[in-house]
């Protein structure tokens, strides 16, 4: 039995190593040039404008002023530190919930759903993204408001005596974000899951591994890339979203994108908004880099 186990381990590790064994090159460096040019011309170059803007004088300069005043205002104040922290925590929580909810759905969709059900699932994954946020919010309000379906239902069953405040809370924000971001997770995982060679799983089963063990040792590692793709997309999207927070959060959560929107819409303090954007960009890039590292290590 232990021999078989060792064999299983070897098999699992070879699977991981596979991606690395590509002895020859099909594509040349030229393949990446169009993308790099596109980003250099239309992303990096405009970024210079943002950077320059962030060094101008803001509308609420700290005493002393100076070139880096907008950044000083952000970093020398524990309030903004809290905001930065809340931004990251919210994105992490949303990403984790999307993984936990999304993986079983992706697995079902690829492995168990009939052709017709598969099509239906694709359609329903796309539908929320085609509904304007204000209408989706109305849908949530019908469900979650003080006189909404949930509260009325609970009250009529005498489970609660006073309506619960479900809207305008972090819970509503997370719910709203998971609702629109889970499809990114599910489709990312499904696209990788569908390519996994099922013979590998069969072999593991023949070597005596249980269903659970086969999943943990073979299927999960092989689908890590899809999970990673989904995690990156969901994390980044959650990290940059503000409309959901604005409409469902009611001020219960404060994140950088929301404050950036405020500077744009209410105070017209563009230099401060630019500084916050640069901070958010750097923060997101650091997270992105760690995620890429993590996926690479898990896969290899």
């Amino acid at each position: 039995m232990s021999g078989k186990n060792a064999e299983l381990e070897t098999m699992a590790s070879t699977i991981g190593a596979r991606a690395a064994v590509r002895p020859w090159r099909l594509m040349g460096f030229g393949y990446i040039i169009p993308s790099l040019l596109l980003l250099a011309a239309f992303f990096i170059a405009p970024l210079w404008f943002v950077g320059e803007m962030s060094l101008r004088e803001g509308r609420l300069p700290p005493p002393g002023g100076g070139l880096w005043q907008n950044y000083e205002r952000l970093f020398l104040d524990s309030f903004y530190f809290g905001v930065i922290g809340e931004t990251v925590v919210l994105s992490l929580v949303v990403t984790l919930i999307c993984i936990l909810m999304g993986y079983p759905v992706a697995y079902f969709m690829v492995r168990h759903a009939s052709a017709r059900l598969y099509n239906l699932i694709i359609f329903f994954l796309i539908a929320p993204l085609l509904t304007p946020i204000i209408m989706r919010t109305f849908g949530w309000q019908v469900l979650l408001a003080r006189r909404g379906l949930i509260n009325e239902g609970l009250m009529s069953m005498d489970l609660i005596s006073k309506p619960l405040s479900l809207l305008n809370s972090p819970v509503a924000v997370v719910l709203g974000l998971v609702h629109v971001l889970a499809p990114f997770m599910i489709l990312s995982i499904a696209s990788v899951l569908s390519g996994i060679d099922r013979r590998l799983e069969e072999s593991a089963r023949m070597l005596g591994a249980s269903r659970g063990k086969t999943f943990l040792k073979i299927t999960l590692p092989l689908s890590m890339d899809g999970l990673g793709t989904g995690a990156i997309l969901v994390f980044m999207l959650a990290n940059g979203s503000f409309v959901t927070l604005l409409l469902l959060g009611g001020g219960s959560l404060q994140t950088l994108p929301l404050l950036i929107y405020q500077q744009f819409n209410t105070t017209r303090d563009l230099p401060f908004a630019a500084a916050m954007s640069i901070v958010l960009l750097v923060l997101a890039l650091v997270c992105l880099f760690f995620q890429l590292r993590l996926i690479r290590r898990k896969g290899a």
Binding site: F79, F138, N168, L247, L259
Partner: protein, 350 residues
């Protein structure tokens, strides 16, 4: 209509396959014989099109295209190409109108080019320091759900006391909604004994309401109606015109109260963009003419500024006379906004 639609559909079919081939590559700059004017969408845009644009086109023979959107967007677009602005006539909120004047995006009003300006009370020009004219205004008072609030408050102060006593939940504009500094922070401070230099009473009241779980905040004008409709709140600070339009569409459960302190004046300004076509003056003149202004007021149910305009009775009951409103110190509020927003974020939440 049907011919137009089917042609559009055919065109779209072609476009889908060869989008880039058909795409106009040049930027859409305003042409001399045709001007670009701005408007919010929906009923507002239809009123602008049917009244001001129609009047302008009939009088001058020129054409005016309407760009739908909002002031922060339009101002950014003008700022990005000041030498050849994509917009000729800018409709603006008062705080941004003052910013636009200060930063050189718009021209001062030239009275000699506007026939109708003599019928506009001076206050509607002075409030924007001559960087445009106020052509339309709303007033922020109390809107409430008539079936759920039987004994509505008659003043802002009573409204807060009632909410603190647990009679109803308030829906108030949040800090990410652009008019909040005037319509809520200054208004509360003013009603509770403070001023533009002392907004402590406003923040204290808001904090108390929050602790009592008696308030929720809306981030956009539509949200307020949703809060009332869904039963998340019963009452709050809202616009007279929006309340009455909602009432007119059949939501007869909504009511409006002009508070004893007076509603808060919220002017809408029209401005001529720098380097724009001279035809812009003609269009602004159409926006100030009594005939089109009356039509506009009937459609959007907000007050207009030409003193020649006589409202029909049904509308007269609904529109708050501008003399009865409280005029916030717009310039001073504009200066204070960054500090207020910062304080709000720390004490109330974004």
């Amino acid at each position: 209509m049907s011919i137009k639609l089917s042609r559009r559909q055919i065109l779209a079919g072609t476009v889908a396959s060869s989008t880039l081939a058909l795409a106009p590559f040049g930027p859409a700059f305003a042409q001399a014989d045709s001007i670009v004017v701005t408007s919010y969408g929906g009923v507002w845009e239809e009123a602008i099109r049917d009244l001001f644009v129609a009047d302008f086109e009939a009088r001058t023979g020129g054409t005016a295209e309407i760009q739908i959107g909002g002031p922060p967007q339009w101002m950014s677009q003008i700022e990005a190409s000041l030498d050849n602005p994509p917009i000729d006539v800018l409709v603006n909120t008062i705080d941004l109108a003052l910013v636009a004047g200060r930063t050189g995006l718009v021209e001062k009003i030239d009275r000699s080019k506007l026939k109708n300006i003599d019928n506009i009370p001076d206050r509607f020009i002075d409030a924007v320091q001559g960087w445009g004219v106020i052509f339309d205004y709303g007033s922020a008072g109390i809107a409430y759900h008539k079936e759920r609030v039987t004994n509505p408050p008659s003043s802002i102060k009573a409204m807060i006391d009632g909410a603190l006593a647990g009679e109803y939940v308030l829906s108030l504009p949040g800090i990410s909604y652009a008019p909040t500094p005037q319509m809520l922070i200054w208004s509360l401070a003013d009603a509770l004994g403070g001023s533009v230099d002392n907004v402590d009473p406003a923040f204290e009241a808001l904090k108390k309401l929050q602790e009592a779980n008696a308030v929720i905040f809306y981030g956009g004008a539509t949200e307020f109606l949703n809060h009332l409709e869904a039963g998340e709140a019963e009452l709050g600070i809202y616009w007279d015109g929006r309340t009455w339009s909602h009432f007119s569409t059949g939501a007869e459960w909504i009511g409006y109260i002009n508070p004893e302190e007076g509603g808060v004046m919220n002017p809408v300004v029209v401005q001529k963009v720098v380097n724009s076509s001279d035809a812009a003056w003609e269009y602004i003149d159409s926006m100030l003419a009594p005939g089109p202004q009356l039509g506009f007021a009937e459609k959007v149910q907000y007050g207009v500024t030409n003193s020649e305009v006589v409202y029909p009775d049904w509308l007269k009951e609904r529109i708050t006379p501008w003399e009865d409103t409280r005029w916030p110190p717009f310039e001073a509020i504009g200066e204070a906004i960054p500090a207020w927003v910062d304080r709000w974020n720390r004490e109330i939440g974004a």
